[in-house]
């Protein structure tokens, strides 16, 4: 099932066994900035790990529930879930079970950040980096620590830019 279910009596939206909640770009980037104000560079890894873990758990369930077994189909499904949730358009480039590249443009987080505070040379797309790390873990059914993600470019760096992620299985 790739479509979230809504239980009005419990006030719960669920996809792949995980709760989803509506939030807008103002809150998303304000919270991110608060985390970074409080914890400095540590906040980056915290956000990436949180995104990776949640994506891995959610997508593993989605793949099982939808009986998606093919690796490429799983990565395309991950990109669709990402887009359906409003995080932006992700293009899976030259991806194998050993890694590859993901390009995100537009990116919700970059768009939110630049609309409030302008372009930045600093990394912003921590959620996307963690999400696709978790997606590759789920698609390959491997341990999370085996996947490394490197951010090659950031959509918030300038107008019209993409976030480019390099994923590598070690």
């Amino acid at each position: 099932m790739r479509t979230p279910t809504f239980d009005a009596d419990r006030g719960e939206i669920v996809l792949g066994g995980q709760r989803l909640v509506f939030h807008c770009h103002h809150y998303n980037v304000a919270l991110q900035r608060s985390l970074e104000d409080a914890l400095g560079p540590r906040a980056v890894e915290i956000q990436r790990l949180a995104a990776a873990e949640t994506a891995r758990l959610t997508l593993a369930s989605v793949f099982a529930e939808s009986d998606i077994r093919d690796f490429d189909a799983r990565m395309q499904c991950a990109a669709s879930v990402f887009a359906d949730a409003g995080f932006g358009r992700a293009t899976i480039v030259a991806m194998t079970s050993m890694g590859g590249r993901v390009e995100v443009a537009p990116s919700h987080y970059a768009l939110g950040w630049t609309s409030k505070w302008g372009t930045t040379p600093n990394a912003v797309d921590h959620f996307a980096a963690g999400y696709f790390r978790g997606a590759l873990c789920a698609a390959s059914e491997i341990a999370p620590e085996r996947v490394a993600v490197t951010v090659l470019a950031e959509a918030a760096a300038r107008e019209g830019a993409s976030t480019i992620l390099s994923l590598e299985v070690r």
Binding site: P4, F6, A8, D9, R10, G11, E12, I13, L15, Q18, R19, L20, V21, F22, H23, C24, H25, H26, Y27, N28, A30, L31, S34, L35, D37, A38, L39, R42, A43, I46, Q47, L49, A50, A51, E53, T54, A55, T58, F82, A83, D84, A85, G86, F87, G88, R89, A90, P106, H108, L111, G112, F127
Partner: protein, 214 residues
Amino acid sequence: MAIDERAIVDAVAGLELRGNEEGLIPAFGLHLTTHFANYYNRSSFAVARALEGSGLEEDARTLLVEAGHVCAFNTFGGIMRSAEWDAVVAPMISSREDWIRGMVAVINAFGWGRWTIRELIPDERLCIEIENGYECAGWLKDYPVSHTPRCYLAAGGVAGLMNLLYVGDITLRPTLSDAYYSELFRDARSFGARATSCLACGDDRCVLVATRQP
């Protein structure tokens, strides 16, 4: 006509908000996401836990609640100024307080748990009860019973409802600028909210009370 919460929840849920061809959800003048509750929880609780025992616990709470204020101002404010509000909620509004009742009904379609207004004294006090709030339900899944409330976003949201209506005047559809935010949330008349019960602390639900801050 009274606020029909179920009709509002059904209408908002029926919007089927999902990403367009660009993977974005533009709605209510905002860009929405259907985000992972656990992502927020893990990230927020990491800050709170990192600062516990350092003497900066209250600073951590302030940061996280402030993000909730930003959410309330922009999300609730954006929704109350939207065409969707005009179409679905506005026809049910017959009093100033119905703006809060209508917004709470909208919130109940967001996946944030079940919000119920226990008390609303105009311009003075708002008490909201939250069942199955995502922050505190998430806390209990991953951590021991807490010694302090964990409904940070909810506290910002409850205070924000009062500030939008009684410190500012959202019924006049003001522009939601940075200056207006400061006017609503940095004023001597601004409301703040505190939890008097919290699911994360072992209570059966969260209860948040917004009053003017001393």
